[in-house]
């Protein structure tokens, strides 16, 4: 398969055949380990639904805004300007992001959402994480599908020499559906943001008690830690020297927790992990009440949240630049929805629809995409902002121009064709074979060909003599065909399956034998 890969991987990935990570000095790693293929996307999730109108502020709409949300509206004089454009500004707490803007490291995408918006946190988060239509339920996350496409054999035979590190890392929370593929976690979780070395990977971080059950728990945790496939590589990469910025919020400052998570991300990238996706978050954006301090709308809960996000991301970018790894990293924020145009009597805002999101990094295309929302003069409580950009267009653009996927592969991950946007400098993608190595990494229990197929698809798989279940699933996880369910002699098996009666689209072929299972995605075309 012909693939585009990264320009920078043309430079030497190794020095004299030795990988740089073995040299022992953590500070050498950022200088030499420019293997190029290790591009990173950092996803910053703003839980709760961020008030976009008070984040990227449409100065040309002040007439109507002051009539429908005067109790939360930022005074025009306090709004931070965005040099180079007029009519749009940032919340006064977002000095850090304004500096990124000035340095050409920030992209603002206006009005990001999806058709038929859902006002439920759960459902809308699910939609954003899976990339589903609003009337569709998907069994995999968009990042999970991307990682599955890039590393199709995962988790069989992982870690391996090609990919010794976690495919993705969630910091500060469990792996949610965004990083899952058909029930398989496509990443590792580092739960405790205070201590990068505490890699329990689950929320159970209570210190052990000083009694017998405590000492036994300590024993189990030790084994758990030793058995963690990725514990050692993460621990080896999480070197304290890999943080050089002094700008991170700390202690009681707003955003300190997000900053801690981003510090760990910088450490791990600098420490040499080949992990492509990091996912961090900050909660509290569900500002139904007391969004601002009564009488002074520039301070309060939302201001603290935005300051936390802005300062943390600014410090993170600063760190990446000081470490010399900013060429490898871009970041993206998202929130499950924006908030209502009209504020409520509790000095807050209720659930809304589309909102701006940010991309940041040295290789994002700086500027603002889209326009200020046009707010109707007769806005009522039920009026919402229209969508300008489908969130899946943002994902598709990142996949195409940052991870260098071919358009057909972008479609296979996104399960449809979405307009791509000028968000990331695409010149970094060229034809090199890193992708092929990823495709071969791990153990293939199951081969499915041709892919795409029209009517008949061939399955080749091996069993150890146990009972085997061979099934085809729809994208929603429903079983559309059970090809075999019962004992099979040990050895290689080939089966030809006629799926001519199925609609075109993405399907999963799944083989389960003994305690192993593997899923391969196939696309049916006409």
């Amino acid at each position: 398969m012909r693939r585009r890969s990264f320009l920078r991987s043309a430079s030497a990935a190794t020095i004299g055949g030795f990988t740089v990570r073995g040299l022992g000095n953590p500070m050498l790693a950022p200088l030499f380990d420019r293997s190029g293929e290790d591009r990173v996307l950092v996803i910053v999730q703003l839980y709760g639904g961020n008030d976009g109108l008070n984040t990227v502020i449409p100065l040309d709409q002040y007439g109507v805004l002051s009539s429908v949300r005067s109790n939360v509206l930022i005074p025009e004089s306090a709004v931070l300007d965005l040099p180079g454009i007029t009519g749009t500004g940032l919340h006064p707490a977002m000095g850090g992001m304004r500096e990124l803007w000035q340095n050409g490291k920030l992209s603002i995408v206006q009005g990001v959402g999806y058709p038929n918006p859902d006002f439920s946190h759960f459902r809308s988060t699910d939609i954003w994480e899976t990339g589903a239509d609003s009337d569709q339920q998907l069994a995999s996350g968009w990042v999970g599908r991307y990682l599955h496409q890039e590393y199709p054999n995962f988790p069989n035979g992982y870690p391996n020499a090609t990919m010794p590190d976690p495919l993705s890392i969630r910091i500060g929370a469990p792996i949610s559906i965004g990083l899952q593929h058909q029930g398989v976690s496509m990443g590792a979780s580092i739960y405790n943001t205070q201590d990068a070395l505490n890699l329990t990977g689950n929320p159970f971080t209570d210190p052990v008690t000083a009694d017998c059950m405590g000492s036994k728990l300590d024993f189990v945790r030790t084994v758990q830690r030793q058995a963690d496939l990725y514990g050692d590589v993460i621990e080896a990469a999480a070197v304290p020297g890999c943080n050089m910025s002094t700008l991170y919020p700390a202690g009681d400052e707003p955003g300190a927790e997000l900053a801690n998570a981003l510090k760990i991300v910088a450490q791990l990238i600098c420490g040499g992990l080949k992990t492509r996706i990091y996912w961090v978050g900050i909660d509290g954006f569900d500002t139904h009440a007391q969004q601002v301090v009564s009488g002074n709308t520039t301070i309060g809960n939302h201001a603290d949240l935005l300051r936390g996000v802005s300062d943390s991301i600014h410090a993170f970018q600063n760190d990446l630049e000081l470490l010399g790894i900013d060429d490898r990293v871009i970041g993206m924020t998202f929130s499950e929805f924006g908030r209502r145009i009209k504020s409520n009597a509790s000095i807050g805002t209720d659930h809304g629809t589309s909102a701006p999101l940010f991309l940041f990094g040295t290789h994002v295309l700086p500027g603002m995409l889209g326009t200020n929302p046009d707010i109707p003069a007769n806005t009522t409580y039920d009026t919402n902002l229209p969508m300008q950009h489908d969130f899946r267009s943002v994902y598709a653009s990142v996949l195409k121009d940052w991870f260098c996927l071919e358009p057909a592969d972008v479609d296979a991950v996104m399960l449809d064709t979405y307009q791509t946007l000028a968000l990331v400098d695409p010149s970094g993608c060229m034809e090199v074979g890193v992708h092929e190595a990823n495709q071969r990494a791990g153990t293939s229990l199951l081969d499915v060909y041709p892919n795409p197929f029209m009517d008949v698809v061939n399955l080749r798989f091996e069993t150890g003599g146990d009972r085997a279940v061979v099934q085809v699933y729809g994208e929603n996880g429903q079983v559309v065909r059970t090809i075999h369910n019962g004992p099979l002699p040990a050895g290689e098996h080939r089966m030809q399956v006629d799926l001519g009666d199925l609609a075109s689209g993405a399907y999963y072929c799944r083989v389960q034998t003994g305690m192993q299972q593997q899923v391969k995605a196939v696309i049916k075309v006409r």
Partner: protein, 549 residues
């Protein structure tokens, strides 16, 4: 000095501790059944049972699904345990019957009554083990297992007597080869070392040889005139050593009078066991075995003095009682020590406890009893799951049983290492996420194409108030862990799983109530509820705390 009885409060934590150690896991229904009873009442009920099992039936087919392709002498759906295998060495039939037995045993554990029968049967299987790889005879395995089950809380001497001359043990430890002309010490040695006294307790090599001579002449029959018959114990007097057997000072210089005739074996076996049981070390040894299985791996000097000593005395005082084991176990399970912080939550679950406990806790659905074929398939899958988790029933590593119950100083920690941990973890996830499916080509039409999976909604509906995310997390933590879980961690669980990162409880309550009101709701938020619960509980299964009880 008798053992100190427990007199402290007997609330939910104490009840759960008692039930987790006495049953396979502790379900909400188990808890509800016993709540309100006193400790003595609970333990009395746990010790009140009979062996009322019905034998395993033929629900298997050959590899191609043909019911007449294998073991056709037994009608489909009827039990095979009374039908000798013909020819004797038809390993295909032996194999399917052993699987049937394994599935049956698993079904008894997973569907256990609320008493100690199945836990004690497992205890004795570990204490008086045979290995399927050596015995490999389905009727023998079944009969020995039933012997352990029927005698599990009875008289120790009677149980050892019966096991000693059961065909499975006569075959496993060469008793059938132990004849006057060429004594085989294998069983006599293990009888002393592993089953009754313990290594180093003081018996001599000469004692082992003398005991072997006592046991000469026992054998078993599996065919009669060339026709296979059910395994049957025989005593063959010409093979018995008729001379007197002299024992050492450890046994008070006992002489077992040599006997002849058809009752010689029985008479001398009884004399041998009486002699063993008269040694105080025997009572201490068996009480330590019970302690390591039910209480704690390592026996402290304090426990030796305050628990083992008094229990051993009770054991000796009731040496002829038909419910001797029950008497001792009752004292142990109602003791102050059993409820002390020194042992609560301080044991790594054995893999059967881990898996069967979870199948019970989450009420893994099983086929209707009439669907014997589907039932067999589901039970066998669960049997393999316990094997995968690290404890292959019928296949202990050797005659000493599983090292977790004897190997100083690690004991129960031997269940867990970097190889078994992922498998144990996967097993816990398999219970919550996995399904067991039956094939299309079953013999019983009703057994075909069925899928069984934990009903996660039904599970949380047993809890106090699943619509309240705080109550839900608290109840789950209470059910799943012994170790204390901080409010901060509970809050994290609520926040990330039930609230999807939000802070307001109402979001969970609304979604949950909408789903309960209409499980087929078109409300897509409510549709997420089962997935959220499986995700939460699946991740809760990954906690280190989950491995302790």
């Amino acid at each position: 000095m008798p053992i100190t009885p427990y007199t402290g409060p007997f609330g939910r934590p104490e009840l759960q501790h008692l039930l987790r150690r006495s049953l396979f896991g502790c379900t909400t229904a188990d808890r509800a059944h016993f709540e309100g009873m006193s400790l003595d009442q609970v333990v009395n009920e746990l010790l009140t049972f009979t062996n009322d099992t019905t034998p395993p039936v033929r629900a298997y087919t050959d590899e191609n699904g043909d019911p007449n392709g294998i073991d056709a002498a037994v009608p489909f759906g009827s039990t095979w345990v009374d039908t000798p295998i013909t020819p004797l060495n038809d390993t295909d039939v032996i194999e399917v019957r052993i699987r049937s037995f394994a599935a049956w045993w698993m079904g008894l554990m997973r569907g256990q009554q609320r008493n100690l029968r199945e836990k004690l049967t497992l205890f004795w299987h570990n204490h008086l083990p045979t290995q399927v790889s050596i015995v490999y005879q389905s009727e023998m395995q079944y009969r020995q297992n039933q012997l352990l089950r029927s005698g599990c809380k009875g008289n120790f001497k009677q149980l050892i007597h019966d096991v000693s001359v059961e065909p499975a043990m006569l075959f496993y430890l060469n008793g059938y080869l132990n004849v006057a002309a060429a004594p085989d010490e294998n069983y006599a040695r293990e009888l002393f070392e592993l089953f009754t006294l313990g290594q180093g307790s003081g018996y001599t090599e000469a004692d082992v040889q003398a005991a072997a001579r006592v046991l000469t002449g026992w054998t078993f029959m599996v065919e009669n005139g060339g026709t296979p018959v059910l395994p049957q114990t025989l005593f063959f007097p010409p093979n018995h050593t008729a001379s007197d057997k002299q024992f050492s000072a450890f046994f008070n210089n006992t002489v077992i009078q040599g006997q002849t005739g058809p009752d010689a074996g029985e008479t001398e076996l009884n004399a041998l066991l009486d002699m063993i049981l008269a040694v105080p070390e025997c009572s201490r040894f068996i009480c330590r075995e019970l302690y390591r299985f039910f209480v704690h791996g390592e026996i402290s000097a304090e426990a030796e003095a305050e628990v083992i000593g008094p229990l051993a005395q009770l054991f000796r005082e009731n040496v002829d009682a038909p419910d001797q084991i029950a008497i001792v176990l009752r004292a142990l399970l109602t003791s102050d020590h059993f409820f002390s912080n020194a042992i609560r939550g301080c044991m790594v679950k054995n893999p059967v406890d881990l898996v069967v406990g979870d199948l019970r806790l989450f009420d893994f659905p099983i086929p209707d009893p009439g669907l014997v074929e589907a039932r067999y398939l589901v039970d066998l899958e669960h049997y393999w799951l316990t094997a995968y988790a690290g404890m292959n029933l019928m296949a202990p590593p050797n005659v000493a049983g599983w090292p977790a119950y004897y190997l100083y100083p690690s004991y129960d920690e031997l269940w867990l290492d970097t190889a078994t941990y992922p498998q144990r973890n996967n097993s816990l996830l398999a219970v919550v996420y996995g399904s067991v499916e039956t094939p299309s080509n079953t013999v019983q039409p009703g057994s075909a194409d069925l899928a069984f999976r934990v009903d996660i909604i039904a599970f949380v509906q047993q809890l106090s108030d699943p619509a309240d995310p705080n109550a839900l997390i608290t109840d789950l933590v209470d059910l799943l862990y012994v170790n204390p879980i901080s409010d901060a961690v509970k809050l994290q669980l609520k926040h990330f799983y039930l609230l999807f990162g939000q802070v307001s409880d109402i979001y969970w309550t609304e979604a949950y109530e909408a789903y309960i009101a209409d499980p087929n709701t078109t409300n897509m938020t409510a549709q997420l509820v089962p997935d959220i619960l499986r995700w939460l509980i699946g991740d809760m299964q990954k906690a280190a705390e989950r491995h302790l009880y």
